[in-house]
């Protein structure tokens, strides 16, 4: 709090002098080697906010407890298997991925890579702008990428929670959730089988699927460097490779969903060890 008036009274400014009393500040303690600042004491200002937020939150939770109780079904029994079997809601996104990928990818590799990818963010984002406020314009690329992944996570959860019924089939809210859906009409095919059906020799079709998958990752490695030269140079080799391999994985689920729904493709790569 400046006290300009008092300052002037105590020590009038004098043009001829190279020094002057700049400002008096209200307070009860010494201010040695301090810059002008706009700070407040944590006690009571922040602590009050924390206390109030906690009380409001607790009140809200207690209110929920008055009308909604924690579920408890019949005792666990290995004899009756529920249909569908659902994981807790926060993992339903991963379970939903099982429709599109084999368990080693959906249940193990992709979740691990999500964790690794999240951890990598601060080390690959070299844009110094937009710290300390809700930024948008200066960090378009970073924010789009993050939201793209974030939204995937939540969309798959929402599908798993609200649209999956018996036999993990798709159910609309207005469908009869007790009636089994007849198996969907179109049957799924692997990409090499489809290519073979188009007249390609079986071995060549096999090879082509390998090339396409490798090509997918190579494209993510090469194209950005050609499209955004200066940005790529700034990133440097290590960050560039990390960013774009993670990006290839970030696009994997949308691409697979698109190919499945559009072309009834089951796997785009079949190897003796795993399927993709």
């Amino acid at each position: 709090m400046s006290e300009r008036h008092t300052t002037e009274n105590i020590y009038p400014r004098n043009q001829k002098k190279s020094y002057a009393l700049m400002e008096l500040v209200k307070g009860q303690g010494f201010q040695v080697r301090k810059q002008p600042e706009d700070t407040v004491f944590v006690w009571p200002h922040l602590l009050y906010i924390e206390l109030i937020a906690a009380l409001v939150f607790l009140a809200g939770l207690l209110w929920v407890c008055t009308f909604k109780h924690a579920p408890l079904e019949d005792m666990a029994s290995a004899d009756t298997t529920p249909n569908p079997m659902k994981a807790p809601w926060y993992f339903l996104g991963l379970q939903e991925l099982l429709v599109f990928f084999d368990p080693w990818l959906a249940g193990v590799v992709l979740p691990s890579l999500i964790i690794v990818g999240l951890m990598a963010i601060p080390y690959v984002d070299i844009n110094p702008k937009g710290v300390g406020y809700w930024a948008w314009k200066e960090r378009k690329f970073a924010i789009w990428t993050f939201i793209f992944g974030f939204i995937q996570w939540w969309i798959f959860i929402i599908i798993g929670v609200f649209f999956r019924g018996l036999d993990w089939a798709w159910y609309w809210p207005w469908d009869d959730w007790h009636k089994h859906k007849s198996a969907s009409g179109a049957s799924l095919n692997d990409m090499n089988v489809i290519l073979h059906g188009w007249g390609l020799d079986a071995v060549a079709a096999d090879w082509l699927t390998y090339l396409l998958v490798i090509g997918y990752f190579v494209a993510f490695m090469v194209l950005p460097a050609l499209l955004w030269r200066s940005f790529s140079r700034q990133l440097g080799m290590a960050r560039y490779v990390t960013v774009w391999s993670l990006m290839a994985l970030l696009w994997l689920s949308p691409v697979k969903v698109f190919l499945r729904l559009g072309f009834n493709i089951k796997y785009f790569l079949v190897t003796p060890w795993f399927k993709l």
Binding site: Q28, G29, D38, T39, V40, F41, V42, W43, P44, L46, L47, I49, A53, A54, F57, L58, L61, L62, V64, C65, K68, H69, A70, L72, E73, D74, M75, A76, S77, A78, T80, T81, P82, M85, A87, P88, Y90, F91, D102, P103, W104, A106, G107, V108, V109, I115, M119, I121, P122, D125, G130, V131, G132, Y133, W134, A135, I143, F150, W273, F274
Partner: protein
């Protein structure tokens, strides 16, 4: 009279050893209280006025931490009534909801604050990302944060098995089924069988202590849920809060 008595109490050695300074209503004591209390010392003495703004943090990190405290409190209550035995666990929970004083409320609170915590931690991460608060020098704290997120999910998930009802058994069965598909160390995963993995020696077997979710799995999840993961997440939070102090809060200028 009351004043004199209050002064007498304040001058006793017991009082002085407890409260090392007067009531924090002036700068000196407001500083001292932050230094001398280990819990308050997680905070700085002063912060930027603008960092207080609700619009900036929306209290999401703080509320995640509060959820953890509430979960610890209600969780300890639940532990008094719960035996991790497949023949008893379900009935313990049933009793809790009908026969134990406040048992239902404690269980509900434990359940809903767990769900709230999962959501809040995600939301907090979203806030930290959107405000660019992970950039240097706060990179490492973001990494700690990702670990905290992982622990939070695992805590919630291990707790899911404990009521030992149909929901619990089968949710964990689907979940652990995924583990057997782990490359190299799961018997159904790529290169698993080539490396000698079987149903009874792979990573899933290690996780649930058997080939199906049964007594061993219940005990393992119980220990993870009530001891191992809480200890880990507490350690993580200690580092997390310490780093916020050391790196400085990103709040707007």
């Amino acid at each position: 009279m009351i004043e004199r008595f209050a002064k007498f109490v304040r001058d006793t050695q017991v009082w002085q050893s407890l409260f090392r300074h007067g009531y924090p209503d002036n700068d000196r004591n407001q500083s001292l209280i932050m230094f001398s209390s280990v819990l308050l010392h997680l905070h700085p003495v002063k912060i930027k006025r603008s960092a207080l703004r609700f619009r900036y943090t929306m209290c999401l990190g703080g509320m995640s931490a509060f959820m953890f405290l509430l979960l610890t409190f209600t969780g300890i209550f639940l532990m008094f009534y719960y035996v991790p035995d497949t023949r008893q666990a379900y009935h313990n929970i049933k009793d809790l909801t009908s026969n134990v004083f406040m048992g239902g409320l404690m269980r509900d609170l434990h359940k809903w604050s767990a769900e709230a915590m999962v959501f809040l931690v995600w939301a907090h991460m979203f806030r930290v990302f959107m405000t660019g608060s992970y950039k240097a020098p706060r990179e490492f704290n973001w990494v700690i944060g990702v670990l905290l997120l992982t622990f939070t999910l695992l805590l919630s998930w291990t707790g899911y098995l404990l009521p030992w009802d149909q929901l619990a058994l089968w949710a964990i069965t689907v979940g652990t089924k995924m583990a057997e598909a782990t490359p190299f160390i799961g018997y159904a995963g790529p290169w698993g069988q080539q490396l000698g993995m079987r149903v009874d020696n792979d990573i899933r077997f290690l996780l649930i202590g058997g080939t199906v979710v049964g007594q061993n799995a219940l005990l393992r999840f119980y220990v993870l849920h009530c001891v191992a993961l809480p200890v880990l997440i507490t350690a993580g939070m200690v580092v997390h809060f310490w780093r916020i102090r050391k790196d400085g809060f990103s709040g707007p200028l």
